[in-house]
């Protein structure tokens, strides 16, 4: 959202414009949910986002715009989620759950580190062409659901929301090296699903 769009939206929000609130919620709910989900898991994520929206309303008149609206909203969400968060998450931090089509693992390489099973060309070379296949779309969603909460949130925040790695670290309170590991594992699993589908034509 451009600075001008943001200014206009904020003015309308302060005037209690219902339409402006709808725009705000539909635009940012996805990113906010990803942040809450990373910190709390599915059970409490929605409640934390609700907390965050109310905190946003209260904070709006005082919002100084030292950061972008999106960064402000996500910081409020992270704080709301941390307030609800009781147990120690560190234990599950790097949990790596099995994925429907696996990953790009050691078995793909020979002892000397060269490819044993090299990637072969895919039939489609654009996201639009890939996603025009209903079965593949469902298959990808299935893989995304198989990711651990942190892997899935980091992937969404990076690829879909376009956040910088440092921003993700700050929001979720995890180290850069952990964000890099989580992101890489998540990507390889999605890669494996795409590759499997391109090779076999089925999920």
């Amino acid at each position: 959202m451009s600075v001008d769009d943001e200014t206009h939206l904020l003015e309308r929000l302060l005037r209690s414009d219902q339409q402006a609130f709808s725009e705000l919620v539909t635009t940012y709910q996805g990113a906010m949910r990803a942040v809450a989900y990373a910190i709390l898991g599915s059970r409490q994520a929605d409640e934390a986002v609700q907390d965050a929206w109310l905190a946003v309303v209260r904070g709006l008149p005082g919002f100084q715009r030292r950061s972008s609206l999106k960064t402000w909203l996500l910081t409020i969400t992270a704080n709301a989620a941390k307030n609800r968060y009781k147990q120690n998450r560190r234990e599950v931090l790097l949990d790596d759950l099995p994925s429907p089509h696996g990953t790009v693992g050691d078995e793909r390489f020979a002892g000397d580190g060269h490819w044993l099973l090299a990637p072969s060309a895919w039939h489609e070379d654009s996201p639009e062409a890939l996603l025009s296949q209903d079965e593949l779309r469902e298959c990808l969603e299935h893989t995304l659901l198989s990711l651990s909460q942190l892997q899935s949130s980091v992937l969404v925040l990076r690829e879909r929301q376009g956040l910088e790695l440092e921003e993700i670290c700050n929001l979720l309170g995890i180290s850069l090296s952990n964000v890099r590991v989580l992101l890489h594992r998540a990507r390889l699993k999605v890669f494996a699903t795409l590759e499997h589908f391109e090779e076999t034509g089925q999920c």
Partner: protein
């Protein structure tokens, strides 16, 4: 010289610009000579673009959330 397995292990860092100058040079050098890894990186980029293009689940209760927000705003205005 970097091996394919190592290139793959560093591929996300390569795509995110997280490699050091030296590591990045090694990765580029490897890619220059290795068709398989070039194909892999190309497919990783396509994987990224595909995740980005996946339709986001719609927010199901926008109206309810908005009602709650405007109600909270009103109650703040009239203490």
């Amino acid at each position: 010289m970097l091996r394919c397995k190592e290139l793959v292990a560093r591929s996300s860092d390569y795509l995110d610009g997280q490699l050091t100058l030296g590591e990045n040079l090694l990765a580029r050098q490897h890619l220059l000579f290795c068709k398989n890894c070039r194909c892999f990186i190309k497919q990783m980029r396509l994987t990224q673009a595909t995740i980005k293009a996946l339709p986001e689940a719609p927010v199901d209760d926008v109206e309810k959330i908005v009602q709650r927000m405007t109600a909270a705003q009103r109650s703040d205005d009239t203490p």
